[in-house]
């Protein structure tokens, strides 16, 4: 029963207005206990994101058409769409995508693989921990793109140096999240495994790996974003094809419509990766929900 008088000062909420309530001692005011719980439990509301996104695009288009947003500052979304259509029709989109995706996948895959391996070594062996933890702490904060010239000297101007930057950049966050996850695996479960005489490999594969998986997957989310940032940076510095190269060329020609189209493709990249990891999480961590 919603009771509006609950918010009124007590003098006005006379006892006679609530004769249906159990009677108290005469002269005492009866008030419901104020509700203090609730909240802190965000729900999934799917449509809100889409609506906000559409509204922003519409306002932007409107601003461009009415001249509030000058053509020089920012092209209208419709122009960027036209630029994108040109890109598709010329067939160049696929070449750019192919170049970018292959660099991204190879770099990220091997960076994550090596990172998980080293993270496990740190989580399991004292020697690896003593040696690698300070090393990781020293190298992690370096912006990896600063090392690209060095990689070009080592691996040449081709694909290898770009892949190396992405690999290097995703390796460190993966190491950190993996060994954090291994450290956080419930020791009583490991003790249980030992008490049943499980082999060391079984304990690692069946107890530690699944226990560390939530942390590893959230590390993947971070490393995927880092990989996309590094991919674009590396392509901007030196590549013929790739979304980063396309954006760079557009920028050099002051073709802002193409630039916005390229940036939108990158944003779709990010969304796709995040969606894929979300799916992987929902499948691999279905025991949690």
């Amino acid at each position: 029963m919603p009771d509006t008088s609950a918010t009124q000062p007590e003098e006005t909420s006379g006892a006679d207005s609530r004769t249906s309530n159990p009677p108290g001692p005469p002269g005492e005011v009866l008030r419901p206990v104020p509700f203090r719980g609730g909240g802190f439990a965000p729900r999934r509301i799917g449509v809100v994101g889409w609506i906000l996104f559409t509204v922003i695009l519409l306002l932007w288009e409107l601003g461009s058409r009415t001249g509030v947003i000058s053509q020089l500052t920012l092209p209208a979304p419709s122009e960027a769409l036209t630029a994108f259509a040109d890109l598709v029709r010329s067939g160049l989109l696929w070449r750019h995508l192919e170049a970018s995706l292959s660099r991204l996948l190879v770099g990220w895959f091997f960076g994550a693989l090596l990172g998980i391996t080293v993270g496990f070594a740190i989580g399991l062996f004292s020697l690896a921990r003593a040696g690698m933890v300070p090393l990781v702490a020293a190298i992690f904060p370096i912006p990896k793109i600063a090392l690209l010239p060095l990689f070009i000297v080592w691996f040449g101007i081709g694909e290898e140096s770009k892949v190396a930057v992405i690999l290097f950049g995703t390796f460190f966050p993966t190491v950190i999240s993996t060994y954090g996850g291994v450290d956080n695996v419930d020791r009583s479960l490991i003790r249980m495994g030992q008490s049943f005489g499980l082999r060391r490999f079984s304990i690692i594969w069946k107890i530690i790996l699944p226990g560390a998986l939530p942390a590893i997957l959230s590390g993947m989310r971070i490393s995927a974003s880092i990989a996309i940032i590094l991919l674009v940076a590396a392509e901007m510095i030196g590549a013929e094809f790739g979304i980063g190269a396309y954006v760079m060329q557009a920028g050099n020609l002051m073709a802002t419509d193409q630039l916005v189209a390229g940036v939108a493709v990158l944003s779709v990249f990010g969304l796709t990766v995040s969606w894929l990891i979300g799916r992987a999480e929902r499948y691999l961590l279905r025991w949690r929900s």
Binding site: L189, S195, S202, P210, W287, R288
Partner: protein, 255 residues
């Protein structure tokens, strides 16, 4: 297979936890270990099961484990220790896989232990879907699956509410009556000790020493809740424990 604990002592750093424990665990008997909290009961159990090395003394096996035994010394933990990412079936198959039991041979064992613990309908459930009592049943089923020579139970019912505890105690007695097993059963609950124990070992406060070993001759199957003989035993145990518990409590408060 019997177990013999031979002048066992243990210390953590400078702190002695157990001193000179001698104990004979006879096949087919349930030995209850009681003592105030922090006196080293869990430590004793870890030493008996070989999860930790004692500072002095040793634990000996007398005779061979029974045929078909996969893991002679098997624990049942207070916090159940079930893998949350495996179903009830998966949690039991976990301890069989390394012994080469897979597929149909594993299923035969799993179905048998689930039937004995009345869990057959919960094979596909995840631990988070089960109540505390059910989770501990799964842990008991998992322990039964490896046909242990000795069960090592560390306060297995302490995380459960008192009604569930009564039900599980009845289940444990039922399991023992159908097929006797050997167990070391650590508890701080005197009622559990007199209901389940053939022998009750009373430890002093830290460092844990054996104060007294009380035998209870009433057969397990005929122990009633209101039995005067058992009440006397329980009163006697409480008299032994009372001052130790009081002193242990003060020590913790000082620390």
């Amino acid at each position: 297979m019997d177990l013999k604990v031979d002048s066992l002592s243990h210390r953590y750093g400078e702190m002695p936890v157990l001193e000179d424990i001698d104990l004979h665990i006879e096949s087919g008997q349930i030995v209850c270990v009681i003592g105030p909290s922090g006196c080293g009961k869990s430590t004793l159990l870890r030493l008996i099961g070989g999860l930790e090395r004692p500072t002095a003394g040793r634990v000996l096996q007398l005779g061979d484990p029974p045929d078909g035994c996969l893991n002679p010394l098997t624990y049942i933990f207070q916090d159940f220790a079930l893998l949350p990412w495996r179903t009830v079936r998966g949690n039991i198959s976990l301890v069989l896989e390394d012994h080469g039991f897979r597929g149909r041979r594993a299923d035969a064992i799993i179905d048998d232990v689930l039937a004995r613990t009345k869990l057959s309908d919960f094979k596909a459930a995840y631990p988070r879907q089960l109540s505390g009592g059910m989770k501990q049943r799964v842990a008991i089923a998992r322990a039964l699956a490896v046909k242990p020579a000795v069960f090592l139970m560390d306060e297995p019912l302490s995380a459960l509410d008192s009604q569930t505890r009564e039900l599980l105690m009845d289940d444990l007695i039922g399991l023992w009556l159908r097929e006797t097993f050997t167990a070391v059963y650590v508890t701080h609950n005197l009622n559990e000790a007199v209901r389940l124990g053939h022998k009750i070992v009373v430890l002093s406060r830290r460092p844990g020493r054996i104060r007294e070993i009380v035998d209870i001759d009433t057969p397990l199957g005929t122990r009633e809740i209101g039995d005067p003989a058992l009440r006397d035993r329980q009163q006697h145990l409480w008299n032994l424990m009372r001052e130790e518990a009081l002193a242990a409590d003060r020590e913790l408060a000082d620390a």
